[in-house]
Subunit: 335 residues, 2 copies
């Protein structure tokens, strides 16, 4: 098999540890990858590049079209743009796919049957980044919802449901208040749902939807929503399933794709070899499927499941009741 | 004791049932109230009044300054303004106080120790209602955050913490993305927190804050945040504590106050005498404290607790494991 070129960024904080662990596993499993390593994040910001990624790194990603990215740290203070948001917009990564699955009884969770995927619109909403100070005391931020942007991600959600044997797509909006913006998202949802009669659909107001997600996540299958709701609620579902440390995400566009954990760079525990590499590893599994190496993906996923089932757990998911052995990042990867 | 004049609105759906039950309890407990009843909601909308409340009702509220309000139904379709939002803005009700407490072991919950209060900014944010269609395909909504609006609600949160023996105030914002708007809210929070050295304070990014709320709500005490986050997350915490059916809310301004349940009018179960009147009843308890009848409030609260502890439960919180008797709205109120 020809090797697939990918770009890899080690990131900041716990990034390098979990990326090293992940790449070690990818190699051991026989992934055919031609890896280009780029530097992004804190050090690059500090070199004065306001989005945290230099032209060489951009070139690499534009060439390979696939980025496996560890979390980065954005320096405190003004003048720094979020690299995540910049990447999503520059590469037109319109769908952020965030599966959360309970691995009960191996990982403690209050919702052993949950198995859902949040598909979050990834470029618009308040993330458009249009903010201004009208007076010293009045600040505004523009929430943007467009027809093409909504159609694209909603269609992606229905296609995803079909391709993955999922039965229902739920839409969350707040169109009792935002009748134009969220109303448009809702209208597009209904219009597109009609083209997928084999998939059930329903729409919930985001507040009550969020309550039901927290209460009975096992009731949901695929859930599609505007950017900010998805940001907040995918952290909630990940945590309910066991730990944000387990949750991967795929940022998907028509030309490019970026894979990452949903958690941050956790500088407080960096360098201690205690971080859970699972989020990034499962993101790498999504990447392998995306680039057409599903059998390697399957192999890694199964090995990972076996490790979790054997009770070999990192600190974040370690519970006396279900875990057998507390391990560090390296030992987890070995297992 | 002189009777305190209040305005009461029976609302739509399950509104009339739960209001009748609530008023019956208030009377039995000896609340000294001079009640003016007004009609709001669906019927008023349908008379062509676009905010669901006619001038006579406005007069009453402006006179009594206190509104006890059952949920209403806003008719489907365009041209109707949310009465909730209209009331909050017209009466300058800047703080929305939403306590959620677990009544474990009497009501089933995964978080038996949770006892927190979300204080939600209640007039600004995307609720300012400034939306427009730029083209057929591009819609925008303006998120508004002001210095006075933020200061007011944050100060309220710290004063509330002090007055209620609470130890910590946490702030949720997304100022890694919204550096101006949420950044302003955050800056005001830090500035005001410094004036309350007796109260701990901390700030979390709303996504990870939401995850921690869902995972360890018992870790939180008072949580203050912009409007929309508070809308979504107060439904989540209410549900985690047992049921949205139990959660009251107080909308507080300097001149007026409005008390209501956080749930909606649930037209699907209306008229069946099965709705849980607890949310509205506990809102009435908050009202009694607000108008200076704390001993009546205490009496009702204790009677309510006893009913819940006796396992006399309405359908929404009935669980074989903890409940003893399944009752309807009326019988619950009798108890
Ligand atoms: C780091 C931040 C900009 C990002 C977001 O808000 O989208 C993160 O929270 C995420 O969910 O991927
Ligand atoms: C009915 C709706 C406008 C309202 C809101 O969004 O504020 C409700 O959800 C609430 O939380 O009180």
């Amino acid at each position: 098999m020809a090797k697939t070129p990918i770009t890899v960024a080690y990131g900041d904080g716990i990034g390098p540890e979990i990326m090293t662990a992940t790449l070690r596993i990818l190699e051991a499993a026989g992934a055919e990858l031609d890896i280009e390593t780029v530097e992004i994040g804190e050090k690059v910001y500090k070199r004065g590049i306001d989005n945290g990624m230099d032209p060489k790194a951009w070139d690499s990603v534009r060439r390979t079209r696939v980025l496996l990215k560890a979390p980065i740290t954005t320096p405190q203070g003004g003048g720094y743009k979020s690299l995540n948001v910049t990447l999503r917009k520059a590469l037109n990564l319109y769908a952020n796919v965030r599966p959360t699955v309970a691995y009960s009884p191996f990982v403690e969770t209050t919702h052993p049957k949950m198995d859902l995927v949040i598909i979050r619109e990834n470029e618009e909403d308040l993330y458009a980044g249009i903010e201004h100070r009208q007076t010293q005391q009045v600040y505004q931020c523009l929430k943007l919802i467009t027809q093409p942007g909504s159609e694209r991600v909603i269609r992606y959600a229905f296609d995803y449901a079909r391709a993955n044997g999922r039965k229902k797509v739920t839409c969350f909006v707040k169109d009792n208040i935002m009748k134009f913006t969220d109303g448009l998202f809702h209208k597009e949802f209904e219009r597109i749902a009609a083209e997928y009669p084999d998939i059930e659909h329903e729409t919930l107001i985001v507040d009550i939807g969020a309550a039901r997600l927290a209460n009975t996540p096992e009731r949901f299958d695929v859930v599609v929503m505007p950017n900010l709701y998805g940001d907040i609620l995918s952290d909630v579902t990940a945590e309910l399933s066991g730990s944000v440390g387990l949750a991967p995400s795929a940022n998907i566009g028509d030309g490019f794709a970026m894979f990452e954990a949903i958690h941050g760079s956790a500088p407080d525990i960096a360098g201690q070899n205690i971080a859970n590499p699972s989020g990034l590893l499962l993101a790498a599994v999504m990447m392998l499927i995306h680039i057409g190496q599903p059998s390697v993906a399957e192999k890694i996923h199964l090995a990972w499941l076996r490790t979790i089932e054997d009770g070999i757990h990192t600190r974040d998911i370690y519970r006396d009741s279900v875990s057998k052995k507390l391990v560090g990042t390296d030992a987890f990867a070995d297992a």
